[in-house]
Structures are given as structure tokens and as C-alpha cells.
């Protein structure tokens, strides 16, 4: 493990998840006992949530999505969304790192191909609870991850790749990074492949920008110049257009939405506690925020229902390549992302209005200021307008029939 964290999560009994329901329960314990107490320091110091990720590794939850035949827990995408939700309720940074990692795991297990290298890698991923990061964006492509400038340069059995990545979240803590690049030097910008680059001696990372941001400060989303020399077997079998449509986009939109739901849920819980405590102080009276609380609880229910519905829909066609490449599915998942990213800000802002100055301050038990800063990342880091523009383009030809 390059981060050298051998810390034992003493506060969580030595439990190891063996099934999906186990995994959700255990993720809840890790979230409450390890992630929550560290959440404030992770945010303030803008540092990686190493305690929580170590505890998730010890609980075997880092390999939760990997099929059981490779030693993983074989969790469904519905169960993964529940894990992200519960982590998000206690530490949004932990939840985001966990979600981003699972997106890479999903890409590997669904698109690597049944080669000895990728089959062995999936076993290894579970055995060593490897943490995966991602380098999809590139300097000078204007934020469009479906285009690359850098290209795979194959020399015999080995490939070389050099990429200017404006963001690689937790690159310095990850065991490997999945990198997009053009298929070869002559390939079109949109003809991309995904390369598995272990962060060992074969890969060098030179930090180019830092990460001192409004929210999600613990994701350590700095920029890097990445250079890697790996065997040609490290290129995933499927093209990135398919990886993106079938897996990266829907898994990201769903798992992010789930962790934003976690942030919103905790903010509403704090608003609820605030109103309840106010009511107790003056028995028989209705606190001023009570009506607003009733309203925001309804909005939260809407958000939760949309996410659960989308999770079930994705689960139902998870292995149906044809349905996954349909426009109606892409539209649905894009819609989910924009809706969730908008609602999380709306809900947390309303929770803050209910808690008033106690919510605005960082040092009260009703504080939701970190929640609000973290929530803003949802519509900014993956820009809602970009997602809407993609949907608008599809709607020119799509018909609901």
C-alpha cells in the first residue's frame, strides 16, 4: 500500500463482510465509528480520509462489488448505492473516494476482458483490497472526457503513456490509476482506450496543481503529469466509448447521487434535531422552523425515491449490453445526476435555514456548513450544464414510445 497506512480501526470490532446485507451493515458501523469522528479534521486539513479507508479495507468492503468467483462480495449495484448513502451520511469525503474507486472496479470487472492478466488482477484487488483512482480528464480538451489528446504508444510488448491530467483524486493514496488515452498515435480523439497503471515504479506522478477547494476537500483532487510504462496486456479489452456508456457514466451518476443523498439525509437529521430540541425547550409551542422541516422532508423523500428507482432500473439491465447502449437509459441516468446534484444543494440550504446560526457555524451539533460546501461540488465538479447539453442533444432524436 503506497500510503503506508497500517493503522487498525480499533473502534470497529474485527468484522469482515461476507454478503451484501453484511456489507451495508458493516459500512454503517465503519461510517459511524471511524469516518464520522474524523470527518471534520479531514475537511479542515484537506487530507485523505485514511482512517475510514483503512477500516473499509479491513472490513473487506473495498472489493465489495467484485463477483464472488474472484473472491469479492458480489454486491449488487443497489447494495453499492446503499453503502455510498450510509458513508455519505457520516463523511462525504470517504463516500466520494469509495464511490470513485467502485466506478473503476466496475470498469475493470465488466470491460477488462477474460484475459489472465485481468482475471488475476480481480483476485488481487480483493486479496490486497487495492484502491483505484482515475485519470479521465486532460489539460486542453475543455473538460470533455470522451476526447483525449494523449495516445498509447506501443513498443513491442510494452506501452508508454504520458498524460497531463488536471485532476486525479487521491492519486498519491491509490494503488493504481485507470487512464484514458487514444488507442494509438493516429487514432481519432474519441477513439479511446482505458489503461491500468499501477502506482509503483512503472508510473511517475508529478504534481502540477494543488487542491484547496470549497468542499470535498479530502478527495485530494490535485493535477498531475502522469507517465507510465506498462505491458500491453494492461489495456482494457473494450473501447472507452462502451466502458463510458455501459458502466462509467451510469455507475458514477448512481453512486454519486447515493452519497449526495447521504449528505442531504444527515443535514435533514440535524435540522430535525434542532426543531425537536427547540420544541422541548418550550413545551406546547411549535418552533418556527417546523413547517420548513416538513417541507424539506418531502423533498428528501423525492430525492430518495428517484435514486432507489434508478438503482433498480440499472440493476435490471446491468448485463444487457444492448439496453445499456440505448438513448433512453443514458437520458435517464443523466436526468438522475442533474436532479440529485440540484436537490442536494436545495435540501442542505433549507436545513441550514432551519438551524439558523447554529447550522451556519462549524462548531455546533446542528452544523451543516460542511454539508453545504460538500453539496456544492455535485453540480460543479461534474458540471450540470454539460450533462444537460448531452441530454438536449439526444432529445433531438429521442421519442418516448
Amino acid at each position: 500500500m503506497p500510503n503506508g497506512q497500517a493503522m487498525t480501526a480499533l473502534t470497529v470490532p474485527h468484522l469482515v463482510a461476507r454478503t451484501g446485507p453484511d456489507a451495508i451493515a458493516l459500512a454503517g458501523q465503519v461510517a459511524r465509528a471511524v469516518a464520522a469522528p474524523a470527518a471534520s479534521s479531514v475537511d479542515r486539513e484537506s487530507r485523505f480520509p485514511s482512517e475510514a479507508i483503512t477500516a473499509l479495507r479491513e472490513a473487506r468492503l473495498v472489493g465489495a462489488l467484485v463477483p464472488t468467483r474472484f473472491g469479492g462480495l458480489g454486491c449488487s449495484i443497489i447494495e453499492m448505492a446503499e453503502i455510498c448513502d450510509v458513508l455519505g451520511q457520516h463523511c462525504a469525503n470517504t463516500a466520494m473516494v469509495y464511490a470513485m474507486h467502485q466506478i473503476q472496479v466496475a470498469a475493470l470487472m465488466r470491460h477488462g476482458g477474460s484475459t489472465p492478466f485481468f482475471e488475476c488482477l480481480l483476485h488481487d484487488l480483493v486479496d490486497r483490497q487495492l484502491l483505484l483512482a482515475s485519470a479521465t480528464s486532460e489539460v486542453d480538451v475543455g473538460g470533455d472526457v470522451r476526447r483525449s489528446i494523449c495516445a498509447v504508444d506501443q513498443r513491442g510488448e510494452e506501452i508508454h503513456l504520458r498524460k497531463q491530467a488536471p485532476v486525479i483524486s487521491y492519486a498519491e493514496q491509490a494503488d493504481a490509476i485507470l487512464v484514458t488515452a487514444r488507442r494509438h498515435g493516429e487514432a481519432a480523439a474519441s477513439d479511446q482506450v482505458l489503461v491500468f497503471a499501477p502506482t509503483d515504479a512503472r508510473t511517475t506522478l508529478t504534481r502540477t496543481t494543488g487542491w484547496d477547494a470549497l468542499g470535498l476537500r479530502g478527495t485530494c483532487s490535485s493535477g498531475y503529469l502522469l507517465e507510465t510504462h506498462v505491458p500491453a496486456t494492461h489495456v482494457l479489452a473494450d473501447g472507452y466509448d462502451e466502458i463510458s456508456a455501459h458502466t462509467m457514466l451510469p455507475v458514477s451518476h448512481l453512486l454519486w447521487s447515493a452519497l449526495w443523498l447521504g449528505i442531504a439525509t444527515d443535514a435533514v437529521n440535524r435540522a430535525r434535531a434542532f426543531v425537536r430540541d427547540a420544541a422541548r425547550r418550550i413545551p406546547g409551542s411549535m418552533p418556527p422552523g417546523a413547517t420548513r422541516l416538513a417541507e424539506v422532508v418531502g423533498t428528501l423523500q423525492t430525492m430518495r425515491a428517484q435514486i432507489h428507482d434508478a438503482a433498480r432500473a440499472y440493476h435490471a439491465i446491468f448485463d444487457d449490453r444492448d439496453a445499456l447502449s440505448s438513448m433512453s437509459f443514458a437520458l435517464r441516468m443523466n436526468g438522475l445526476k442533474v436532479q440529485s446534484a440540484t436537490l442536494v444543494v436545495q435540501i442542505v440550504a433549507q436545513a441550514m435555514a432551519i438551524c439558523g446560526i447554529a447550522g451556519y457555524k462549524a462548531d455546533t451539533k446542528y452544523s451543516v456548513e460542511r454539508h453545504l460546501r460538500d453539496a456544492y461540488s455535485a453540480g460543479i465538479q461534474i458540471n450540470n450544464d454539460r450533462v444537460l447539453a448531452a441530454s438536449a442533444s439526444m432529445l433531438l432524436v429521442h421519442r418516448d414510445d
Binding site: A188, S190, S393
Partner: protein, 84 residues
Amino acid sequence: MPHDRIRSIVGEHGRLSVAVDKLDDTASLYQAGLTSHASVNLMLAIEESFGIEFPERMLRRRTFESIASIAGAVGELTSGSPGA
């Protein structure tokens, strides 16, 4: 020939990184640089040219994979025998 008409529409709207006459009918348009945005413009132009509307079940990746696959879909929609 619908193939020729489709080929010229692909050349005009596909924004490919290679010349369309360098591609054979079964070559991957995605590998030739067809993006999802360009594929929408291509669909609109084909609908306009052939006076057809692609139903939802055809709005997926494999329909626009190659000139031959587009011709297959157009043929199905213009033959008057849906599901053929």
C-alpha cells in the same frame, strides 16, 4: 442505392477524422471518430433524407456502428415491414 446516400450523409454530418470514401461499409464509425453528438446530427440528417423516424428501439449504439448497420435500419423502416 441507399448505401451511397447514407455514405454521403455520413461524410457530411459524421465529422469523422478519416475521409468517408476510405471506409468500407462495415468499418466502425466510432473508431473513425464518430462522437455521440455527431451521431445525433447524423440521425437527424438520415431521418430527413429518407423521410423516416428512428423508433426508440433503434436509438442505440449498434444501429450507427457502420454504414451497413445504418443501411439495415433504414431498409427496415422503409420496407413497410417492421420487425423484419
